[in-house]
């Protein structure tokens, strides 16, 4: 990978913003779309960065939960979320007009190597979330975009329309074959990488899938960036909850990531228990 790809555009320092809920819709079984009126974060967030949400106000103790910014529309940020436990259940109950507070933008987002003119985005499940805004940005910059997207079944292909709107090509895999081919997203990803057309890969999804994609890219000699998830407490680099093992030692996913150059990741490091 070129040295350039390591240097992130200087990102704006995070702010604490009180944000009214504009929309909170169910987009598929167990998946919601939360739209927040967050003009400060919206102005400064870069693709691949995340926000730390205080999903409920009140006196009950709850740690913030990290979510990628899926898209920015005007002064609003969109978050795609999967309902898993206490925090995301609370999120699913938010109503229009409720106000929650957001810390962001946080972390380092995706970076386009200087000379790349064709990018492959590999999205597994909710891994599509941080790739939405990036797909749009790449297309605006005139970079050709191919997408390999996977999900358990067709309805769960979140952001599929966005990808189909901006990408030159979208290849789909579902566990049950209800859309695209039956199987994992690594199938179409492998074909697209081997096609020799793509010059850089951006992947997000279950960690094992990201590792497989990183290996495919490495074998093809193409740079690859991945967005890693870790349990986070502070989200701003202070608590060391979120460490990732890399060739340069332990890094914090919240400030040194969540996007990393895949070639630096030591994949044996343990991941957050897989979600289902």
């Amino acid at each position: 990978m070129t040295g350039e790809a390591h240097t992130h555009p200087r990102s704006h320092p995070p702010v604490l913003e009180s944000t009214p809920v504009v929309v909170n819709d169910r987009v598929a079984e167990g998946i919601g779309l939360l739209v927040l009126d967050a003009p400060l974060v919206a102005t400064h967030v870069q693709p691949g960065q995340f926000v730390h949400l205080r999903v409920a106000e009140g006196t009950d103790f709850i740690l913030r939960r990290p979510f990628s910014v899926h898209r920015v529309v005007g002064g609003r940020i969109e978050i795609l979320y999967q309902v898993l436990g206490r925090g995301t259940r609370q999120m699913s109950e938010l109503e229009q007009g409720d106000v929650i507070d957001v810390v962001g933008p946080l972390g380092n987002g995706w970076t386009l190597p200087d000379d790349a003119s064709h990018a492959l985005l590999v999205a597994g499940g909710l891994g599509a979330a941080p790739l939405g805004m990036w797909a749009e940005r790449l297309a605006e910059r005139g970079v050709a975009v191919s997408v390999a997207q996977g999900a358990p079944y067709s309805e769960r292909l979140v952001a599929r329309e966005l990808f189909e709107r901006v990408a030159r090509r979208v290849e789909i895999a579902t566990d049950d074959g209800s859309a695209g081919e039956r199987g994992f997203v690594t199938g179409p990803a492998e074909r697209l990488i081997r096609s020799g057309e793509v010059e850089v890969v951006f992947a997000c999804g279950p960690e094992r899938m990201q590792q497989a994609v990183a290996n495919l890219a490495a074998a093809a000699g193409i740079p690859c960036q991945v967005s890693l998830e870790r349990l986070m407490a502070c989200g701003i680099g202070a608590c060391l909850s979120c460490v990732v093992s890399t060739t340069e030692g332990l890094k914090r996913a919240c400030v040194d990531g969540p996007v990393f150059d895949a070639s630096t990741i030591k994949w044996e490091s343990s991941e957050v228990p897989p979600k289902h």
């Binding site: 320092p13 995070p14 702010v15 604490l16 205080r54 009950d60 103790f61 709850i62 740690l63 913030r64 206490r86 507070d101 810390v103 870790r230 349990l231 407490a233 502070c234 989200g235 701003i236 680099g237 202070a238 608590c239 060391l240 909850s241 979120c242 460490v243 332990l250 400030v255 490091s269 343990s270 991941e271 957050v272 228990p273």
Partner: protein
């Protein structure tokens, strides 16, 4: 402006031995990094003191992930004192902190009695900190940490060797994972500790029933947050009643009222830990709230609250 605002501002200063703080609100070690990480949200110069993440002689890698789990009204952590070692700390963190007008308390860790003192000596060579907080109470490391803080002998020994390494205020941070916290507190006080800080986290555990696995890779970890506040208050009250030296109280402090409660129980200073994760401006909120609380009740000096519990 409401009526309360026109009353005189209370004197917010407190003392921990020879260390004077502009207000009682400090940060709890390990929850605030070196302070820099919070500087987008907190004007550090408004704090009573910045207490840094634990530092040891050599770099420590910490424990495997997952390292945290949320629990009822709190969280478990098993970070394991990951730190880059005292050299990096002095060069990068301490040098930066010294450019600010705020007391810096360096939290010191060690695998052995000698290591604690060597860390302090190294920092003294580099110009020193305003005070040292000796962590003999970390439940997340096998060698060192809590091993030193759960028996009087080792607790005394560590305190003695740290005392020999510096003239500056020495705060010893106590573990709640003991049968009699007062006994340990007395032991470190008799070895020359200028203050004690308590409580560190309580050893706990969380299990994911579905996978039948522990939620932390290390299996056990330290419990912090509002869940531990009643225990922390009780221990601060017991220790403050038994000792002549000042006490720094912590454990679940989230609001100004929590801070008042700790001071009434006998704390001269308070530290804010886990609450920083929920609201990065908690320290400032507590300082402002404490000032207002005193003003509204005509408490002229915040120090008047120390040990003012009526029983």
């Amino acid at each position: 402006m409401n009526a309360a605002d026109q009353r005189p501002s209370p004197d917010m200063r407190v003392r921990l031995g020879t260390l004077e703080l502009r207000n009682p609100v400090m940060t709890a070690s390990g929850t605030f990094g070196s302070g820099r990480e919070f500087s987008d949200f907190v004007d550090l110069e408004r704090l009573g003191a910045v207490v840094t993440k634990g530092v040891s002689m050599e770099p420590w890698p910490g424990n495997d992930s997952p390292r945290i789990a949320e629990t009822a009204s709190g969280m478990l952590n098993s970070i394991g004192l990951q730190n880059p070692g005292v050299e990096r700390f002095v060069e990068r963190d301490l040098a930066w902190l010294r450019t600010l007008d705020v007391p810096v308390v360096v939290n010191v860790s060690g695998h052995s009695t000698g290591e604690y003192a060597r860390v302090i000596e190294r920092i003294e060579q580099a110009g020193g900190a305003d005070a040292y907080e000796v962590n003999i109470s970390c439940p997340n490391v096998d060698a060192g940490g809590m091993v030193f803080g759960t028996a009087c002998g080792p607790a005394s020994e560590v305190t003695r060797s740290c005392r020999a390494a510096t003239q500056r205020p020495l705060i010893v941070k106590l573990s709640p994972n003991v049968t009699d916290v007062v006994e340990i507190a007395k032991a470190v006080a008799s070895e020359g500790a200028d203050a004690v800080a308590l409580i560190n986290t309580l050893l706990g555990m969380a299990i994911d029933a579905e996978s039948r696995r522990p939620k932390l890779a290390r299996v056990v970890g330290g419990l912090s947050g509002p869940a531990i506040k009643p225990i922390a208050l009780r221990m601060v009250w017991q220790v403050a009643a038994a000792l002549d030296i000042p006490v720094v109280g912590m454990g679940g402090i989230t609001t100004a009222e929590d801070a008042v409660e700790f001071m009434l129980a006998g704390a001269s200073g308070v530290a804010i830990g886990t609450a920083n994760f929920v609201d990065p401006t908690t320290t400032l909120r507590v300082i402002d709230g404490l000032t207002t609380w005193c003003r509204e009740r005509d408490v002229a000096r915040v120090a008047d609250l120390i040990g003012a519990l009526e029983t």
